[in-house]
Symmetry: C3
Subunit: 205 residues, 3 copies
């Protein structure tokens, strides 16, 4: 189980860091700015979670794999990034993959630290949206989570699957993967079909 958890975590860091690096490239940042944005996006959500559950210093600061992965992602994006016209779409897809991987690992770590299923699911959601929010704040973009498409809901759905199965003693490796796939699928469908949640103005006027 631990190997699955760490693998999903590193995969999530990699894809989130890719999305952060692409935002940096789109913002015309230099290579150091791109690496900083890759690191913040890849590690930010997990660090927020670790601070909130009292797991300090955060695991990612003391484990070389957690530090190398976003650096590699930053260099890869910097060197091989696609033409600018396609960047926005790639950002959203890598962001969706990170969302799915982190809602699972974030929730599982919170359960492991003895939190109940409701706070664990919320922390899982925070883990998966936190890195992207920090990325967008630093880059001066409106955070994706506040924009029109369905964003936080897929993360909450995946986190809920993990929290409920863990609470019932049914959490297995394949459940982790199902939960991540559920979140990623919902998010990609929301992007593809431009699902919009209702707005206040539409209701009232």
């Amino acid at each position: 189980m631990n190997t699955v958890q760490v693998s999903l975590d590193l995969a999530g860091i990699f894809v989130f860091a890719l999305s952060g690096a692409l935002v940096g490239i789109r913002k015309d940042l230099d290579v150091l700015g791109v690496l900083v944005l890759a690191g913040v996006t890849g590690l930010g959500g997990g660090i927020l979670r670790d601070v909130l559950i009292g797991a300090v210093p955060p695991a990612s600061l003391g484990d070389w794999r957690y530090l190398v992965v976003p650096a590699v992602a930053g260099v890869v994006a910097f060197r091989f990034h696609p033409r600018l016209a396609r960047i926005e779409r790639h950002i959203n897809v890598f962001d969706a993959l990170g969302l799915g991987l982190f809602c699972v690992t974030g929730t599982a770590k919170a359960m492991l630290y003895g939190l109940g299923p409701v706070p664990s699911a919320l922390l899982g959601m925070l883990t998966s949206i936190g890195g992207g929010v920090l990325r967008d704040l630093l880059a001066g973009r409106t955070p994706l989570v506040l924009k029109q498409e369905v964003y936080a809901l897929p993360a909450l759905a995946g986190a809920t699957v993990v929290a409920v199965t863990w609470e019932l003693g049914l959490y297995r490796s394949w459940v982790a993967i199902v939960a991540a796939v559920l979140c990623i699928t919902l998010r990609l469908l929301a992007i593809r079909f431009r699902w919009d949640a209702p707005k206040a103005n539409g209701l009232v006027r």
Copy 2:
């Protein structure tokens, strides 16, 4: 005393969450974005305080009342929000109420955790301005605390009343309410009469 503390806390979360939800509605966000902004604004200041005093995981993540209140506030604002023209004023009033309630509960919790009166008053101020600052950062607004009207001072005044009376052993339920009313009154007067603190340029040129 505990009931007063929790009641003031929940009331503060409710009004701050209303202000956050209204900012979200004004920014034309969908229902999920509005709920996220309501939650961040209502719970953000207290979570910042809890992390800084080492009270992790933050109480609000493990207590269902602290999670339901901002959700209710978000739904209420989403469904019954006033016409857009009046929103800005309502945001400022709800924000002032939250400021007053949180400067009291934030300071009291820090004293309870054994911090001295000066850091406790500062943490009380941080608790009361933190949620609004996070709200404004996420929504891409200049934080109110940095704008022209008197904002942080009322929070510091209320927090100081709590810290001093607690240190002297005179802190009672009615003191908590007096301190909150003091902060709210100062803030509302500052809004009403457009009190401006001096600016550097005026002094020097």
Copy 3:
């Protein structure tokens, strides 16, 4: 050694707080906004570090010197700030001094708390860039660290000197000062000669 550490720390808080106050003056904030920005810039990096290494409540909240210094810096900047035309340059110079002082004290404190040299150097870099990032986020500026000149690299260089000498048992007062001077010199040279790190677009197109 402790006196050197505290002196460097207070000096770093003072110059960073000056840079924060000048940003506030440039943004036409009132005296309270200027003081808030001075406090956040001077204390923010250290508080981030303390939260991440589990040193809560952060030392700066309980030590009156750490609270008086940014207040004095804010008042000094507010009263004696130079003409607006020169402000930008002064912000960058004070920011460079803060960068150099904090990369040393931040790394040393992390080593003192038992972290390894790699996470300690990263936390040192975070301590020195954190306050400025918070300052720029609050003031609605693009964080300097993401802009074109070499910014995070000098901080990482200074932090690495401290981490390596500490690990080898060679860390002395004069090493601390050499590391700070190294970082400050690199940063000032980068500003003076407009050193730019490579950008992705230049490589690919």
